[in-house]
Amino acid sequence: MLDKNGIAKRIAKEIKDGYYVNLGIGIPTLVANYIPDGVNVVLQSENGLLGMGPFPLEGDEDPDLINAGKQTITTLPGSAIFDSAMSFGMIRAQKIDLTILGAMEVSENGDIANWKIPGKMVKGMGGAMDLVASAKNIIVAMQHVNKAGESKLLPTCTLPLTGVRCIKKIVTELAVLDVLPEGGFKLLERAPGVSVAEIREATAGKLYADDDVPEMVID
């Protein structure tokens, strides 16, 4: 079973040299820490930046330079700043190669819910609906089950949707799964020490698993 950093590490292996990547808040943010040497990527922050760098050194914070999570950050050499219309323009035009974001629920057909829980204060979808509707390649980083122990990989989402038929890959503390074009989750890899049975137990939606599902290799 992976911890959050383990999930981030595994996802980092999906990033190819030359990718422009948008990282959501939470586990996705951690992915930046595990991008292999020699893999050149540019991180986009949808508030209007390409070439996001690490947090600033203490005392170097610039209030005019934040990421989409409103955190103080830095830019790397070669960065570019633009307005929010261009930022979502490049997202909509699929110029971003990979989007990684969290989710509350994902359904068998690739629907995602990650912005609203009925009865709770709704803070808003931010850029999530734009990202999921536009991205050509989305990986969901999340826990396999919620705090109540219920599966987050469902036949259909129960929460209000963020987007439909858009998720293609999911990485959890238990497994790496593809969402099949014809519907259903295809188990690709098991977390170290996790059995197919455990994954099946934690997956409410239809799960397809070969007899011999390999264990993840994380560095």
Binding site: S45, E46, N47, G48, L49, P54, F55, P56, L57, E58, G59, D60, E61, D62, P63, D64, L65, I66, N67, A68, G69, K70, Q71, T72, I73, T75, I81, F82, D83, S84, A85, S87, F88, G89, I91, R92, D111, M121, V122, K123, G124, M125, G126, G127, A128, M129, D130, A133, S134, P160, L161, T162, G163, V164, R165
Partner: protein
């Protein structure tokens, strides 16, 4: 050259009356028009509809206007980090319309570019699509979303000249240039007001034609919402 300079925030917002629709630039607390917000709080204008990506925090940004019950409706993409906002929303004092961030941005662009509507896939199949026209292009569904129609746009720039040309600094650019284009009347406050000729024409982000009033702002606090740092060795 045409001169757009007004003395200060009070003069710039003097004709913003109760019930108007305002766009306010900024992302979180980054690049918000601090001076104009303070002047609006002082003036006490009420029943405002505010189009802004966020709603400030309890004691800064649009949060200051919320606290004074000046806002009737917020049109935003994300309104977290604001307890008073939450209280007013739950009590029914405040109306809120949540819009995907890219849709919010593109509806500004549409207004500034004279395009009555745009198409975006954001929100297709979700509650955001309710009541909206869905149209399929090349096998993909899009929502038709309308250009905003705002009485005033209020933006904050880094530098501006007397004819209204604006330059923004780093990610404080965000929604500012596109809202500047979208307002029927656009008010710009700047950290540094300069004479015409001091800004390189190639570096202008917002041409002055989009700006109706400009003034030298003061006492910028530029509050940081999430101070994240690396330790120095």
């Amino acid at each position: 050259m045409i001169n757009k300079v007004v003395a200060n925030a009070d003069e710039a917002i003097a004709d913003i009356m109760d019930g108007k629709t305002l766009m306010l630039g900024g992302f979180g607390l980054c690049g918000i028009p601090e001076n104009c917000i303070a002047a609006l709080v002082k003036k006490g204008t009420r029943n405002l509809t505010c189009i802004s990506n966020n709603a400030g925090v309890d004691d800064f940004g649009i949060g200051l206007m919320l606290k004074q019950h000046q806002v009737k409706k917020m049109i935003s993409s994300y309104v977290g980090e604001n307890a008073e906002f939450e209280r007013q929303l739950l009590s029914g004092e405040l109306e809120v319309e949540l819009i995907p961030q890219g849709t919010l941005a593109t509806r500004c662009l549409a207004a500034g570019y004279g395009m009555p509507a745009i198409f975006t896939p954001a929100g297709v199949g979700t509650e955001v699509a309710e009541g909206k026209e869905v149209r399929n292009f090349d096998g993909k569904d899009y929502l038709m979303e309308y250009a905003f129609d705002a009485d005033f746009a209020i933006v904050k720039a880094w530098k501006g000249d007397t004819t209204g040309n604006l330059i923004f600094r780093s990610t404080s650019r965000n929604f500012n240039p596109i809202m500047a284009m979208a307002g029927k009347i656009t008010i710009a406050e700047v950290e540094e007001l300069v004479e015409v000729g001091e800004l390189d024409p190639d570096h202008i982000h917002t041409p002055g034609v989009y700006v109706h009033r400009i003034f030298q702002g003061k006492d910028y606090e530029k509050r940081i919402e999430q101070r994240t740092v690396r330790k120095r060795d």
